[in-house]
Symmetry: C2
Subunit: 513 residues, 2 copies
């Protein structure tokens, strides 16, 4: 075996099944190792930002890491924005970066760069292998580090000689680093707080929003009347009919302030006290009501899911939540196509158990409202504000869940950052439907410019406009191998979306809103 | 005035005329300042990697910096790979990055990142403005730092409050930091060396390859018989009929070794001793002949152009070079279209004084050979090995030289990294012709895999293949607003290329090789 082969086999031993790859010369032995290991699936991406975003989407749905395979410092650099999103989502990712052979670094050849320096701002863990014999152990540690609560990007840098030189054997999986358990007295103290008669809300993020923990949150609500909230960009939520209803914090600060008005105590589960996404001149960044008591039930790296279940038990809450979302599908719209018509159609027609990747930006609030009482689904938003996450996450979610329909609600300006993801959807025959909200502008910036107090003239407004030339998503998708169509009326959109839901494989619908 | 307006006016005072921009909310006041300053041209890019690569192409041709405008840490991250290329090219760039308002950073809102940490690996200079009053002085210093020899990326981070708060006035241009002059005795010592009768070569990079300095190199050759060489990835060279002929080091180590065989002394002007681009198992990375004496005439941050002229004078060289490239246009090929037919057609038809951006990869060597005796032109290659530089550099070169035809020789796999650049070519009506070498593969990696000693099976080879689905550049270009056509025979290619040379404005030809 060589170092590369021990790396591949170690990843398999650690239950890593997929590698989103964009390799180069220094990774050829790693490609060879992928080639010879039948249990590791290599998924080629045309750009490293796609690989990183795909690993993010995969990790959020699979609950375990995918690997990446990137080409030296510049390849890593291209992945950084979507690794930033993954960092904010606390997604486990084993980020494998090839590098020059150890002896070659001294020559400062053109591709030489400060790989560790580039990795650090997005990585929870960084290591460069020292020799071929250490690669397997490093890989096992990388998986362990990626999975340590709350999850993160573990970057393993593999010099080419560490990949090509002989190595003895693969490593076995290291023990899981379990999240810290919230002590019983801390849980009981929150239980007493929630029984004190004040107006309470519980703000959640992370595993507390999934499965049994979400059910437990509903039980707590049934017992105490506390409002259930989640972070604006909670990385993974389960929504729709039958699920416990959680109010999502809106995007703009004043909307958050309005939503939280009257809340006297705010319990945090894996979340932080709400703040404004951006700063605005003369406006506060902190959004909790003045005087509202902030209490942590669980920090992000503690076991918030167990703490929520323990809280329900400590309160003597009923076995089941008292309220759940009912199924209330909006009627199919007709006539002109606008954001409202698109999101109502999506809500009406999306099947059970779909995954909705949401980079709708100005369309997201309407989409979330329409989907709240639609069929049950999983929701993956952009978490770190680095636009260009939607299409790549769609790739990763579809690879993680081959039996489920993945719907991507994609703003057009943001989608342009990583349009190359469409090619991988076609290549892997992923069952993904991309809806492009084609308003031909950075619409959010027209809103934000007013909010920060800038009035733009012709030249400034032109810098936010995508009409000249028109970004034609139907042609772009066709150029990247994805079947695409354009909808200009509500009826056309419904026809095309219904057809996409009935079929399998990648589709793109350009909704002319 | 606010801080943003003082920044814009300071850039204008420092002779910065263009800003390649992809702004967000935190940069709205900077957009407003662009808007109100008629002497600063904002060029919108759909992806930050395009903005950075455009600034690189602009700086190489204009010989002065453009500004960028990027959105916080993730926007900077997206620009990093092409800033790596710019760092390797020593291109002056004023890299302006917006950030959260100073008081907002404490909240760790989703877009918060270690902006300085992300900037450092590619930047010669990094500063974060402390308040609105300091922005103008910081901007003047950024221009000075970007232009200090040999040139580099100066990253100025502007928190949103520093942009929107009141500021007094713009700053004037700071004095140029001139490159260190090589002392006369050092020049004379090299002159003596070249007169000692040994077989000598002069390896150049940077300003020594341009204009009068190139002429002086030709005079040195006329006097001493020394061979003139340039680095494989010399950032900017002037080639073609009438120019002093400089041999370019080839890409692969063994080719460099063969080319340098017999050289007993190697004089370096702004270059380093040649090394292999990648490491290969059991092969040396250092490529100069054993025992060859290495002498620096000028380091990269010294004035290599003046040193070369001084050397010619110290030698008492003739006033003019004795040999120049003659005009020898290859015949127009007919029949099947292959790399040879494409490059011969380009050499035959490209007009005087064109700029050739070269990211042809496996086609580059043939292209350079064909162009060596074509009409005079400027040549800009990929310098740092971070693929995806070609299309963005084409944008920047065309903005810098509106009266000249820009031809981009673009490998298809590499072009896919930054295809969004086509949109800016259309938007700005740039006179650029992109020739895509459509071989539907990462062809270079099929060669490299053999060279590093890996034999790939079906799965591994598939990771280097772009046939499934076919990357259709004609459709992609149309989707991004650029007129495009496909050529499958030499005659079709010649027709389409001739038409592109006769016309103005952006064109893409997909050469099916």
């Amino acid at each position: 075996m060589n170092g590369a082969q021990t790396l591949a086999q170690t990843l398999v031993n650690c239950d890593v099944e997929v590698c989103f790859a964009n390799p180069g010369t220094s990774e050829m032995h790693l490609v060879g190792a992928l080639d010879s290991n039948p249990r590791l699936r290599g998924v080629l991406c045309l750009f490293e930002g796609v690989a990183a975003g795909a690993a993010d989407g995969y990790g959020r749905i699979a609950g375990k890491p995918a690997a990446t395979l990137l080409h030296l410092g510049p390849g890593l650099a291209n992945s950084l924005a979507n690794l930033h999103n993954a960092r904010r989502a606390a997604t486990p990712i084993v980020n494998v970066v090839g590098d020059h052979a150890t002896d070659h670094v001294r020559y400062d050849a053109p591709l030489t760069a400060d790989v560790i320096g580039i990795a650090r701002p997005v990585s929870a863990w960084v290591r460069r292998s020292r020799n071929a014999a250490s690669v397997a152990g490093d890989a096992a540690r990388a998986v362990q580090a990626a999975c340590a609560a709350p999850g993160g990007v573990a970057t393993l840098i593999v010099p080419a000689d560490c990949a090509w030189s002989p190595a003895e054997r693969a490593a076995e999986r290291l023990p899981e680093i379990a999240p810290a358990v919230v002590p019983a007295d801390a849980v009981e103290s929150v239980a007493r707080l929630l029984a004190n008669g004040k107006r309470s809300a519980i703000l959640m993020r992370g595993p507390a929003l999934i499965g049994d923990a979400l059910e437990a949150a509903g039980r707590v609500q049934a017992k105490t009347g506390a409002r259930l909230l989640c972070d604006t960009f909670a990385p993974h939520t389960q929504l729709g009919a039958g699920r416990v209803v959680v109010e999502r914090l809106p995007y703009f600060a004043e909307q958050i302030v309005a939503l939280l008005s009257g809340v006297e105590q705010l319990v945090l589960v894996g979340a932080e006290a709400p703040v404004s996404f951006f700063a605005y001149p003369g406006k506060p960044g902190y959004c909790a009501p003045e005087g509202c008591e902030i209490v942590y039930l669980a920090h992000a790296d503690e076991d918030g899911a167990k703490a929520t279940i323990d809280l329900a038990d400590a309160l003597g809450a009923p076995d089941k939540p008292s309220t759940r979302a009912s199924l209330e599908l909006p009627g199919l719209p007709t006539g002109a196509l606008d954001v409202s018509a698109v999101v109502r159609t999506i809500a009406h027609l999306t099947p059970d158990d779909a995954i909705v990747v949401d980079e709708g930006l100005t369309a997201s609030q309407a989409l979330q409202a329409a989907l709240a009482r639609a069929r049950p689904h999983d929701h993956l938003p952009l978490t770190g504000g680095a636009i260009g996450g939607g299409l790549p996450m769609t790739v990763g979610a579809a690879v993680a869940a081959p039996g489920r329909k993945v719907v991507c609600a994609q703003a057009d300006g943001s989608g342009a950052y990583t349009m190359q993801a469409l090619w991988t959807m076609a290549r892997e025959r992923l069952d993904a439907t991309v809806v492009v909200f084609a308003n031909r502008s950075y619409a959010i910036l027209n809103i934000e410019a007013k909010r920060v107090g800038t009035s733009l003239g012709v030249k400034g407004r032109a810098l936010l406009d995508l009409h000249d030339p028109e970004l034609n998503w139907t042609r772009i998708a066709a150029g990247l191998g994805v079947e695409a169509s354009r909808a200009t009326t509500a009826e056309e959109f419904a026809d095309q979306y219904q057809s996409a839901m009935n079929g399998r494989g990648p589709r793109l619908i350009e909704a002319m809103i």
